[in-house]
C-alpha cells in the first residue's frame, strides 16, 4: 500500500513538485472557478483558457516568458470581447465565440510556421506538471494569496453580482466594474495555472471542482472549500494513476476531476431516490377510503 500511495512522491522530486503545484492550482481554480460557475462565466473561462495560445506562442517566438505572453493573450481576449459586445450589439456569447476561434486559429498558425514548436505546443496545450520548478510553485503560491485576498475583500460585490447584477448596481457596486474585475481574476488564474495543466485542461480545473462544490454546499465559502478538497484530491489521485499507468499527468488529473463531479452528481441523484423510497409512495386515496 505504501509503495502504491506514498512512495511515488517520497522517492521522486518531480512528483512532489507536481503534487504541490497541483494542489496550489486546485486552490486557485476553486476560488476563481466558484465565481465562474455562479456567475455563468464558463464560456468566457473556456475562451480565455484557449485564447492565451497565440500569446504564449508569440512569447516563445520572441524568447519572452510564456506567462507574459499568456497575460497579453488573455488581455486581448477580454478587451476584444468587450469591444465586440459594446460596439456590435451582438450577444456576449457571439463575441466570445468569435474571439475564441480567432485566437485559437492565430495560435495554431503561429505554431505551424515553426517546426521547432511541435514539442512546445503539446506543452502549452496539455501542460507539463512533472516539469514544474520551484519558481513556478512560488508564482502559484503568490497567486493563491492574491486571488484569495481579492475574493475576501470583494466578497460583497461579488456575491451581489452572482445573485442579482441589478441589485449590485442599486447597492452602489457597479456590476460592470466588478464583472471586469472578476474576468481579470479568472484570466490571472488561467495565466499562472497553464504551465501546470496546460491551456486546454485548466478550464476543467476551473469548473469541475466548483460545479461539484455547488451541488454539495449551502454557502459560498463551503462551495469553495468543497472545490478545493475535490480538486486537491483529484490532483493526488490523478498523479498516482498517471505514475502507475504511465499516462499523461495533466490530462489524468483533469479527467479524475471531471469524474469526481459525476460521482457527486450520481451519488446525489441516488441519495434522493433512496430518500423518496424510504418515505414511501404518496397515496392518491384518502385515508380510510375503500
Amino acid at each position: 500500500m505504501y509503495n502504491w500511495l506514498i512512495a511515488p512522491f517520497s522517492n521522486n522530486e518531480f512528483m512532489r513538485n507536481a503534487l504541490v503545484a497541483g494542489i496550489l492550482v486546485s486552490v486557485l481554480c476553486a476560488v476563481a472557478g466558484t465565481f465562474v460557475v455562479l456567475r455563468g462565466l464558463a464560456f468566457i473561462g473556456d475562451a480565455l483558457a484557449h485564447g492565451v495560445l497565440p500569446g504564449v506562442a508569440g512569447a516563445l517566438l520572441l524568447g519572452a516568458p510564456g506567462m507574459l505572453g499568456a497575460a497579453v493573450g488573455s488581455a486581448v481576449m477580454i478587451v476584444g470581447v468587450s469591444f465586440v459586445t459594446n460596439r456590435s450589439g451582438l450577444s456576449s456569447d457571439t463575441a466570445i465565440g468569435l474571439l475564441f476561434v480567432g485566437m485559437l486559429a492565430l495560435g495554431v498558425i503561429m505554431v505551424s510556421r515553426t517546426d521547432s514548436f511541435n514539442g512546445d505546443i503539446v506543452r502549452i496545450l496539455f501542460g507539463e506538471i512533472l516539469g514544474i520548478r520551484a519558481a513556478n510553485i512560488l508564482v502559484l503560491a503568490i497567486a493563491v494569496v492574491v486571488i484569495s485576498a481579492c475574493v475576501a475583500l470583494l466578497y460583497r460585490p461579488f456575491l451581489l453580482l452572482c445573485f442579482d447584477p441589478e441589485q449590485a448596481d442599486v447597492s452602489g457596486f457597479s456590476s460592470r466594474r466588478y464583472h471586469a474585475i472578476m474576468l481579470v481574476m479568472v484570466a490571472a488564474t488561467v495565466v499562472v495555472s497553464f504551465q501546470a495543466v496546460g491551456t486546454l485542461l485548466v478550464f476543467g480545473m476551473l469548473i469541475a471542482p466548483a460545479s461539484a462544490g455547488a451541488l454539495l454546499a449551502r454557502r459560498i465559502w463551503a462551495m469553495i472549500a468543497w472545490a478545493i478538497g475535490i480538486g486537491a484530491t483529484s490532483v493526488y489521485v490523478g498523479l498516482l494513476l498517471s505514475y502507475h499507468y504511465d499516462t499523461s499527468a495533466g490530462a489524468t488529473v483533469v479527467f479524475v476531476t471531471v469524474c469526481a463531479f459525476f460521482v457527486v452528481l450520481v451519488a446525489q441523484v441516488a441519495g434522493r431516490s433512496v430518500a423518496r423510497g424510504l418515505r414511501g409512495p404518496v397515496s392518491a386515496s384518502p385515508v380510510g377510503a375503500t
Binding site: 442579482d164 442599486v170 452602489g172 455547488a214
Partner: protein
Amino acid sequence: MSAAPLSATTLTVGYGTDPVVEGISLTLQPGESLALVGTNGSGKSTLLKTILGLIPPLAGSLEVLGGKPGTRPKRIAYLGQAHTARFVVPIRAIEVVRMGRFAALGLFGRTADRDRQLVHDAMAHMEVTHLADEPLRSLSGGQQQRVYLAQVMAREADLLVLDEPTGGLDVAGRERYRELVEMALARGASVVTATHDIGEASGCNQVMLLNRRIIAQGAPEDVLNTSMLLQTFGITLQGIQHDDHHDFVIGEMPHGHDHGHDHSH
C-alpha cells in the same frame, strides 16, 4: 429631507432610442406612496429601472433623493422581479437579508450590532426567522418573496422601489407586506410600487395607470374607475368598496339586469 424624494418633469423612459412612456411628470413627497398600474409591457418596470438609475432617461428631468438616479445607493431599496441566478447560488435566507445592509456598509464596513438587529427585526416582521438557515433554493416562491421583502426592510431606505411585491404571497404574507409599507411611510420613507393588483394600488396616495402611455394619474379615487381601467387593461373591472380598501372584480356587477352604463363605486 428637504427635496422631494422623487421628482420628474416631462420624463421619457425607454430602452436605447426607443421610448416606452413619454411625458411623465410627478412629485412624491416623504411619507407618500405611488402605485404604477398596468399590463405586462406597459412601462412600469422601465420607469422603475429609470428611477433606480439602471437605465438612463431618454428625455426630460428626473431627480431621485435630491440627486441624479443611481447616486444615492445607501438611501434606496429595490425589490426586482427576475432573479435568474438565484437558484445557482448556494445561499441561506439570512444571507439574502444581510445583503440589504451591503449598501450601507460599503466594501469594507464592519457589520455592527445595529445591522444585525435590523436583519433580525426584518426577518421577524416577515415571519421568516425560522427559515434563516435554510438554503434559499429550498424555499417556496412565497417564502422567497418574504425573504426578499425582509431584505428591503433591512435596508431602512428613504425610497422603496418595489416591482410586483405581492407576487406569490399568501394572505398573511400580504398583510405583513402591507404593514411593512405602513411602517416605512410612517418613518417618512416614500414607496413606489409597480403592480397588477388594483386593490393594492387603491391604498396608495397616488396612482399612475400605464399602457405605454399615461392613461391617468392622481388620487386612487379619481383614477381607479371603470373607464380608466378599461383603457389600461382592455377589460371591464368593477370596484367594491370595503371599510379600508377596494376590491376589484372582472366584468359587470351581478345586478341581474343591464343598464348599459358604468357601475363606479
